[in-house]
Symmetry: C2
Subunit: 403 residues, 2 copies
């Protein structure tokens, strides 16, 4: 491909960022030929030449000059329809729609193979941090043990305000919304689903396994209360929303998204505000840490641009690890040490602990620190979903040391 002629779907913050970055870099190898939007009349911050915008998808699909589609549409169904149509016609796609990709990845991989074309989505995970491509290209030969990190900028921003600035959870959420880090409906971010979708995509490229969203334990930060913050402060730790996938044996791995009590000595302890940070652990290189802006128009646009430029060189993900014969299998049969805080919900009798270290009772905020199976947490999702319950993972050393 000597020149990339882009058909862009969606012209929100990221779409306008891509347009802006391409203009500023005076890039001679890529040009946006057409932009398809749902509503032509909608006022937009970025001015574009006459005729560039259209509301007819066929103006892009039917243009033989367009050799790459960039999909930045904020609706998972529309986004899947655009991406699958493009791939079926053999047109390569760059997409930033993590929810859609996390849901449809097996079909999308199949479509890429069948029509000998490519779908790139590095921007879908961790904004500007090149996690996917690094896992795909750089960590493919090594004995990868774990990928763990803070993958959602909005919830991390809220937790930072709470821990570092002493704000209440509600104030922090409001501020995040004012700054545009959290959506007006922020549940996607703060309930952990955004991090989950990224984790699902990461797991495909880390271990060659696709795990559907409904099979993964996911617990967000919306039930966080002052009692939890006090508890964490007293122990000298921070509460972070952490997504992780880890080998637990040669042939098995586990994954989950939940708050974690993070010690000062950990890399992710210092990942604050809207930043993302990912630790990749392998048997040979020990730990690698990547850190960068995980949200915002320009950082994400910059990642989209990297995917666009990669197409100039014919790059595609090869999903090599999915073909490995000794891929590990997903298991939830592992034991975690957790902190569970509750008020009226009868956690001690509803949740089956295999061992408890601490039982604390005080008006309105009891907590248990104990061992519980991940499979039990999944089975008791409805119990843990009660508004008065909050759960956080405790890496074992912490319990051993402090209790």
């Amino acid at each position: 491909m000597s020149k990339i002629n882009i058909g862009l779907f969606g012209f929100g913050t990221v779409g306008q960022g891509v347009y802006e970055v391409l203009r500023r870099t005076k890039n001679a190898h890529a040009e946006i030929r057409r932009i398809c939007v749902r509503n032509l009349a909608k006022p937009r911050a970025t001015e574009v030449p006459d005729g560039l915008l259209t509301d007819r998808a066929e103006d892009i699909f039917g243009d033989p000059d367009i050799n790459l589609i960039v999909e930045l549409v904020d609706n998972a169904d529309a986004s899947f329809s655009i991406v699958s149509t493009a791939l079926s016609r053999g047109i390569p796609v760059v997409s930033g729609s993590k929810a859609m990709i996390a849901r449809h990845l097996p079909e999308l991989i199949e479509l890429q193979h069948r029509h000998d074309t490519a779908l790139l989505y590095d921007a879908s995970s961790c904004g500007s941090i090149p996690v996917i491509r690094n896992l795909e290209e750089y960590y493919d030969n090594d004995l990868l043990l774990e990928v763990k990190g803070i993958l959602n900028g909005s919830s991390n921003y809220i937790l930072s305000r709470v821990f570092d600035h002493g704000e209440s959870y509600d104030d922090a959420l409001r501020r995040a919304q004012q700054l545009g880090f959290a959506e007006s409906d922020p549940s996607f971010d703060i309930e952990g689903y955004d991090a989950l979708f990224k984790l699902i995509i990461i797991t495909v490229h880390a271990l060659g396994r696709f795990v559907p969203a409904e099979d993964v334990f996911t617990f967000g930060i919306s039930h966080l209360q002052d009692a939890d913050i006090r508890f964490a402060r007293e122990k000298g730790v921070k509460i972070k929303l952490v997504a992780q996938v880890a080998k637990v044996a040669d042939d098995r791995f586990t994954m989950f998204v939940m708050p974690e009590l993070v010690e000062k000595s950990k890399y992710i302890y210092s990942v604050d505000d809207e930043y993302n940070g990912v630790v990749i652990r392998g048997e040979c290189y020990d730990r690698q840490f990547m850190f960068g802006k995980g949200a915002g128009g320009l950082p994400t646009a910059s990642s989209i641009l990297s995917d666009i430029m990669a197409r100039l060189h014919g790059y595609r993900y090869e999903y090599k690890k999915m073909a490995f014969s000794d891929r590990p299998s997903y298991t939830t049969d592992i034991s975690l040490t957790v902190y569970v805080r509750y008020a009226s919900t009868d956690i001690p009798s509803l949740l089956d602990f295999t061992g408890t270290t601490v039982r604390h009772f005080s008006p309105g905020a009891n907590y248990i620190i104990g061992q519980v199976k991940l499979s039990e947490l999944i089975a008791k999702r409805h119990v843990l979903g009660a508004k008065d319950v909050f759960i956080a993972n405790i890496p074992t050393f912490f319990v051993e040391k402090d209790n």
Copy 2:
């Protein structure tokens, strides 16, 4: 390439690490076919099957089954001879010899083009951190502004012992040597040349420019004294050996290696012990930080393995940025704010400051904080080389704030 048959030159720590990792990963796509060493009789920690070792290079070059040469030889001349011979015969090479690569890169690029083959050397920069490939692949479209970091694990280990553990410089150096982080002749590490060679390679992939080692100001940590450590402690900063390349205007960039007074708020402040950390700054994604083990047999071996596996997919560096018409030019005509400590050398009259902020006189340890041109530092290398002189870069905000 369906299977990689490796001819390995050199069987020291890293070579044995590669052998070990390949064995442990039971990798079906890569196999070491022959290992060429200088001295067959030398005892080695790793046992290998009979006949694998040879002392004749032609046993590798002349074997038609060998389709990749991995060069891990600890002598720059021998290493260049092996790599250039291999490339001239059209055999791709993976090399970890940074000194050799930093010196010969233009010829090595030319050889790759002429014989349509590839030389990969990600392991040469920052051990296990994938800096080169990320710069080459991921940051090629963006407005890259700066790459700055701690690129030498041994000197960083020494500085960590001094600052975090209160050891004397001499004790720290001895301990580094005991642990195998520093060579018995540690000058390569502590005089900054190791970091310089990595910086030269990084600059080729960051900005498309090759700058010869002798044109770059390089100052190490061997002149560090207690007075400098006291000064840094009083100011609440750490002294780190920092290598950096930065755009200073649209069409110009500068680069140098020297100690820096690093504030707590900076990412590299927390890069301790034998770790490396690199900050990549761009106009769109702001700052990215990559962190990992920069030294040691297995981390480096793991990086070599990544390069080997990349060859399975035909990967090569494209040196795209060297072809850009608007590459920036190297300049030393920039002003730095520096701390210069001295005793008998008459720094005030020998070094031409364009402005001074602080002049401090005390028995045996005077210092000046002032502005000086980078070109002046290069011109006065012989003055700064005096054993009683130590110089450290001070990012400007620090001076403005504290003085």
